[in-house]
Symmetry: C2
Subunit: 204 residues, 2 copies
């Protein structure tokens, strides 16, 4: 709806960076209990000691805010995963293991996960750049887990995209109580088999 400039992206002052942090923190905290609905813009503003108008200057909508929150959380997760890379041999297994690890992390804060994922899939075109960023982060995590030597082939990128699709959608079905964790695990493992299919070097 609003076609404003986004001050959030280009060099903020220290105070502004602090405000942004406070907002994201408040958003995550409110989401942690209560999920999507509990993240109310007035509440976020109040908890981060910022006027409502200012909140909207930083994040032009609730969905923008929650997608940015997800971005933030994903970055943390990426770093964490980097520190303890998967131990398995097989790339497909490594990816599956990594995603299940991420999944268990989300499990610890199911409401937060709910809020972020719902925002992500509910986002319309006006949030595309931010959603894209999240997508790139996810892709990076998966590619990292694959542990490729060179750059990925087009086929591998397709596989990664499909894995990502499955990851998001499986997450949603779990969050809405329509699939068990075991089911999610199976789905993840199933889709990760695609990686073997696209491996450039086969061993008989």
């Amino acid at each position: 709806m609003t076609a404003e400039v986004k001050p959030a992206s280009l060099q903020l002052t220290e105070r502004q960076e602090a405000r942004r942090r406070r907002i994201l923190h408040a958003s995550a905290r409110l989401a942690s209990r209560g999920g999507f609905d509990a993240v109310q813009m007035r509440e976020v503003a109040e908890h981060s000691s910022v006027a409502l108008g200012t909140l909207y200057r930083y994040f032009p909508s609730k969905v923008h805010l929650l997608v940015a929150t997800m971005q933030d959380q994903l970055q943390h997760m990426h770093e964490t995963l980097r520190k303890r890379p998967p131990t398995e041999e097989d790339p497909a297994t490594r990816v599956a293991q990594t995603l299940m690890r991420a999944f268990r992390a989300l499990q610890r804060e199911p409401h937060l996960a709910d809020a972020m994922v719902r925002a992500l899939t509910f986002a319309d075109r006006s949030v595309s750049p931010e959603v894209d960023m999240v997508s790139r982060l996810t892709t990076a995590i998966i590619l990292d887990a694959m542990g490729l030597e060179g750059p990925p082939t087009a086929e591998q990128l397709s596989a990664v995209r499909v894995i990502e699709h499955t990851w998001h959608s499986a997450l949603i079905t779990w969050l809405s109580g329509r699939a068990s964790i075991a089911q999610v695990k199976i789905d993840i493992e199933t889709v990760c088999r695609l990686i073997d299919l696209t491996a450039p070097t086969e061993h008989p």
Copy 2:
């Protein structure tokens, strides 16, 4: 939020069935132009000549309404697809072909597709039964396209679930303008390769 009975599911009188139809029709029509946002409950009520309170008695929320609309549309599509089953030999190709056909149908009413899919992924636990129904319908369409002889194996069901995940998620990325139709096609074809992987009878 509301834990009401659902009169919509158990035998309605003729007048009630007609009302329900009118509501679904109005919902689809409003969604067709304008998408999710254009489906305003007051408008739906007015266009279907029903009081707002009645609308809410039939569909306890906007999301319920749109998911029911999707159910309706999917049923139509299922019948249409039944009439002209895919021509290919290979099951994976048949499924991919079927899904792309469905995709092109949705393309014809992108706003409607947007409204329905957004509602579907935005649905919380209170809509689970209805979302599950949609999921079952989608599964049925895919299984039909596979053209199995006997009942599907557990492995095949996993593959179908993953295909479904990919289908939904790819649809979302397309609707939000983050992926081209070509990309969706590639993703669908990629994930459909899983079917070959799970075929009980292999040919060397």
